[in-house]
């Protein structure tokens, strides 16, 4: 049960980051040429492989409970940040994440940048896609390493991330446009809930407490986080309506 939950969490969290990376690469490719953009993607991927290759084995030699405490705490802080933003978006306090607007902005930046060529590459296109893939990829690596090492299987988490990579890349190649139709805000809400759930579960175990029903209690924690988040969205929506100036809704 928790293996499927682990793969799904890694898949969703990685897909969100990959959609963001793809948006930047598409903008760089369309504005500055595909050769430079794809070379940037390859260079960033190689850098990521080196970073993950160095960090991954190091995590497996740390005692599991200490790892769960640290990783659970980090995931909880990190997940709560996602959940907080998702609740603010769902209740209307924060603008929805708009991949179309981000794509247009990146495209504009790329088109207006000075052309600086070397070795047959346009360095602006290379740097844009290298930076985008490296930063978003580091976030994916963090998710895969923390999820995988705490659950004792980096491979399962990597499987979820790889499935997300294949799916997002396939859609990117097919549509060659920002993935605005992917319900990114809904996905971010789901990821925030999963990160927070795993964070609560692992940091409690890492702190030395024991869940009644062991792994099965993950479902209970998940239900609690979903219910609390739903209640907070409802509460904030109501608060927003009440605090709006009279006549603002007309």
């Amino acid at each position: 049960m928790s293996a499927a939950f682990l793969v799904l969490s890694a898949f969703l969290a990685s897909a969100v980051e990959m959609v963001e990376a793809l948006t930047i690469v598409l903008a760089a490719g369309l504005a500055r040429g595909w050769r430079s953009a794809l070379t940037g993607v390859a260079a960033a991927t190689l850098t990521l492989v080196v970073i993950v290759g160095a960090l991954g084995p190091a995590l497996t030699i740390i005692p599991l409970n200490a790892l769960r405490l640290v990783v659970g705490g980090l995931l909880l802080v990190f997940g709560l940040q996602w959940l907080r933003k998702a609740i603010l978006r769902a209740s209307g306090y924060k603008a929805l994440h708009d991949e179309d607007a981000i794509f247009a902005r990146e495209l504009d930046v790329a088109r207006n940048a000075e052309r600086l060529e070397g070795n047959g590459l346009d360095w602006c296109g290379f740097t844009l896609s290298f930076k985008g893939v490296l930063l978003e990829g580091l976030e994916v690596a963090f998710i895969v390493l923390t999820f995988g090492s705490s659950q004792g299987s980096i491979w399962l988490a990597a499987l979820g991330a790889a499935a997300a990579l294949v799916l997002v890349a396939a859609i990117g190649v097919t549509v060659r446009a920002p993935l605005a139709r992917v319900p990114e805000n809904t996905m971010k809400f789901a990821v925030g809930i999963m990160l927070t759930t795993f964070g609560i579960f692992w940091s409690t175990e890492g702190a030395g407490a024991h869940w009644p029903g062991a792994d099965a209690s993950l479902i209970g924690v998940l239900a609690f986080v979903i219910a609390s988040s739903g209640a907070l969205v409802t509460l904030l929506r109501r608060q927003r309506v009440l605090s709006a100036p009279v006549g603002a809704e007309a």
């Binding site: 909880l76 940040q81 959940l83 409690t204």
Partner: protein, 65 residues
């Protein structure tokens, strides 16, 4: 040095974000869970409501700002 500071800032913003008070509160709640568990008192129930309260107060701060 500048590069190190930029890396540290990236990870701080990536993990903690814009509400460091919530991160401190989470650390305190985990420490309390560990203290109860080491005193042989059941502590599994503590973190879920603590997280809900921390999230609620963090959202209140955000909406008031």
């Amino acid at each position: 040095m500048n590069r190190l500071a930029a890396i540290a800032r990236f990870w701080w913003e990536f993990v903690v974000g814009d509400d460091w008070l919530a991160a401190v509160a989470i650390a305190l709640a985990i420490a309390l869970t560990a203290a109860l568990a080491h005193a042989d008192i059941a502590a599994w129930w503590l973190l879920p409501p603590a997280v809900a309260i921390i999230l609620y107060t963090s959202l209140r701060r955000a909406t008031r700002a």
